[in-house]
């Protein structure tokens, strides 16, 4: 798979958008503008953008509590995202879901999920539905290393395996499940090796290399579209922020975070590749950064100017036919 300059720059732009969105969300949270709590994916842009870059708008995905990047990479609307984080009526879920429940059914985003491993059974259903409807869509389940220790992982990979469902299970192994190190909580080093137990391919890639992720995802998606069944893809990356914003992070030394930031930043690494190919110029980068900043400012303005839901709206949307 070789990409033209336009494709590569578009990947870089999306990665920048995710990074800037997450950084901004952290700032808005610190400023008290976002209620509740949020989980950021700073440093994991190679995974979200690499995988979503090979998906079609009609492909499905489920994501997690750390899902902003997946939604953006699948084409999510920044205004409705920020509005939802801020609990406004114009948000994706009209203020009923918040950060952990963003969805956009028009883009195949079947929802972030507040329950670790909550997406597995749902994605199996989406995969089964694709088979029953005889389309060539694929369904992608993003999950973390922690989710691979829960029961639904087992049931879903087995079921997808026996029915050869068109599913890509994407593990973002970011070294921590909440406050617990993956090396403590996982019985294996490479989560992809668990695929063997389900008779499906398992691939571990450098999750901070967006092209490595993209190529591995492309192969898995092609397999799925050819009706050859599911793949488990493990993107090895690192969670640079706390589990949630405000996490005191007593479980790790800050030097560990700094080291990853300096040596293994997916944006920096990709920029280096692009510069070597003479595709990325300072001018372009500054221009795009300014555009993204303007889009994000517009999104924040939109959210801040949006109304809060009226209290009685809490009683709406439970049933189609009450």
């Amino acid at each position: 798979m070789s990409e033209d300059a336009e494709t590569l720059l578009s990947l870089y732009r999306t990665m920048m958008t995710v990074r800037k969105f997450e950084t901004l969300a952290g700032e808005l949270f610190a400023a008290g503008k976002i209620p509740g709590f949020i989980h950021l994916s700073v440093g994991q842009e190679g995974s979200s953008v690499g995988v979503c870059s090979v998906l079609r708008p009609d492909d499905y995905l489920t994501t997690t509590h750390r899902g902003h990047g997946h939604v953006i990479a699948k084409g999510g609307d920044l205004k409705r995202m920020v509005a939802e984080l801020m609990g406004r009526k114009t948000g994706y879920c009209k203020g009923k879901g918040g950060s952990m429940h963003i969805a956009d059914f028009s883009l195949g985003i079947l929802g972030a999920n507040g329950v670790v491993a909550g997406g597995f059974p749902i994605i199996v259903g989406a995969g089964l539905s694709i088979k029953l409807r005889k389309t060539d869509q694929v369904a992608v389940c993003f999950f973390g290393d922690g989710a691979s220790n829960r029961g639904p992982f087992h049931e879903a990979l087995n079921m997808a395996g026996i029915w050869k469902l068109p599913i890509l299970f994407v593990c973002e192994n970011n070294c921590y499940a909440s406050t617990t190190k993956t090396s403590y909580a996982c019985s294996v080093i490479d989560i992809a090796t668990r695929a063997k137990g389900y008779g499906i391919p398992g691939v571990s890639v450098d999750g901070n290399d967006v092209l490595a992720v993209r190529h591995a995802a492309a192969e898995a998606v092609d397999r799925a579209r050819r009706d050859e069944g599911p793949t488990l893809l493990e993107n090895k990356t690192y969670r640079r922020r706390g589990h949630f914003e405000g996490d005191p992070q007593k479980y790790r030394d800050q030097s560990e975070v700094t080291e990853w930031e300096q040596k293994n930043d997916p944006l920096f690494r990709f920029a280096t590749v692009l510069k070597k190919k003479k595709m990325l110029t300072k001018d372009w980068e500054e221009k795009i950064a300014a555009q993204i900043d303007a889009d994000l400012k517009e999104a924040v303005d939109f959210a801040e100017q949006s109304e809060w839901p009226s209290p009685e709206e809490a009683l709406e949307d439970l049933f189609m036919n009450p």
């Binding site: 879920c93 969805a103 059914f105 929802g111 259903g125 409807r133 709406e316 049933f319």
Partner: protein
């Protein structure tokens, strides 16, 4: 519309045959379905009539329910067979946290047309893991509709309505009632969800019941009639949404009520009914509302023990005599 006498089992298969013929997006998913037409033979004939649309799964209740949800979110209308209602515990996150909430927490984006079909109830010596009546857990979970039919016609009409509904329905059917027979309309027959049925008119007391409690109460009503007590018998059929209007109308006339259900007493639907009746109909009452229910223990195995724990016809008769002071 002509009627025939058929069983509850036949009513299930008939509703599904008609609806699966009408709507290609309906499919059935669960354990042990194809070879035997379901563990109770409830889907007999369907695997042959609709090849590929009755799907056997591994023993994976979490993923069976979640897969139903994922399919419903992407354009299908699954009927999820839970094998035994007791196994809801293995899929509780998928039912209570995902299926029930997803439409609401996503701000109304999602449509969730699915039916969880859950055979429940005791009386078969199946002990504590295969005998429960768990409907009240789901009444307490906003986002689910809860249906518990008793007679074959209700089974057909309510299952058809549930399959056509765009919201998630959990449909409990008592295992001991599969063979019960009764008149069922031929051809398309839909009963709206959320409507109770006054199955016997009476003036002295209202019996509020559903599922197996309906048959228990029917026996009791005959005995009571012999004693000169004329009970009005309401089969609630849908527990959520609850048809309180029909309940209120009856109670305003009889001024006395007994609730009968097989689920255990504490925190059961009876508690909710008594609470609502006392807060909304207090001025009409001539006596306290009593509940007849199973005792608050797991369902035991030995016949002597199981019989003791479950509500009996005599319990209904005694409760009615108590509230009518006769």
């Amino acid at each position: 519309m002509s009627e025939r006498i058929i069983s509850c089992s036949a009513a299930i298969a008939e509703a599904l045959t008609e609806e699966m013929t009408r709507d290609e997006s309906i499919f059935i998913i669960g354990e042990d379905l194809v070879a035997h037409g379901g563990i109770f033979g409830q889907f007999k004939g369907l695997p042959e009539k609709f090849p590929g649309r009755v799907i056997d799964t591994p023993i994976s209740e979490t993923c069976i329910v979640g897969a139903g949800l994922g399919a419903a979110l992407t354009g299908m209308r699954p009927l999820i067979d839970l094998h035994f209602a007791d196994f809801v515990t293995c899929a509780m996150d998928e039912i209570a946290n995902q299926t029930a909430k997803i439409r609401y927490m996503l701000g109304g984006q999602a449509k969730v047309p699915l039916v969880i079909w859950a055979p429940d109830g005791a009386g078969l010596g199946a002990a504590a893991h295969h005998s429960q009546s768990l409907e009240s857990w789901f009444i307490h979970t906003p986002g689910l509709k809860v249906v518990v039919p008793s007679e074959p016609a209700d089974v057909k009409g309510l299952l058809t309505a549930s399959l056509r509904d765009d919201d998630p329905v959990i449909f409990f059917q008592h295992k001991k009632l599969f063979a019960k027979e009764g008149p069922v309309p031929d051809g398309e027959y839909v009963l709206p969800l959320g409507k109770a049925a006054v199955k016997r008119k009476g003036t002295d007391v209202t019996i509020l019941t559903y599922g197996s409690g309906f048959y228990l109460s029917t026996e009791a009503v005959k005995e009571l009639s012999g004693m000169g007590i004329e009970a009005e018998l309401i089969d609630l059929r849908t527990l959520k949404p609850l048809d309180f209007e029909t309940i209120a109308e009856s109670l305003k006339k009889t001024c006395r009520a007994v609730v009968v259900h097989e689920a255990c007493l504490t925190g059961g639907l009876g508690a909710e009914l008594v609470a609502r009746i006392s807060s909304e109909l207090f001025d009409y009452l001539d006596s306290p509302v009593l509940r007849v229910a199973a005792k608050d223990v797991p369902i035991p195995f030995a016949p002597t023990l199981e019989k003791f724990v479950l509500p009996k016809v005599d319990d209904v008769v005694t409760a009615v005599r108590q509230v009518t002071y006769r």
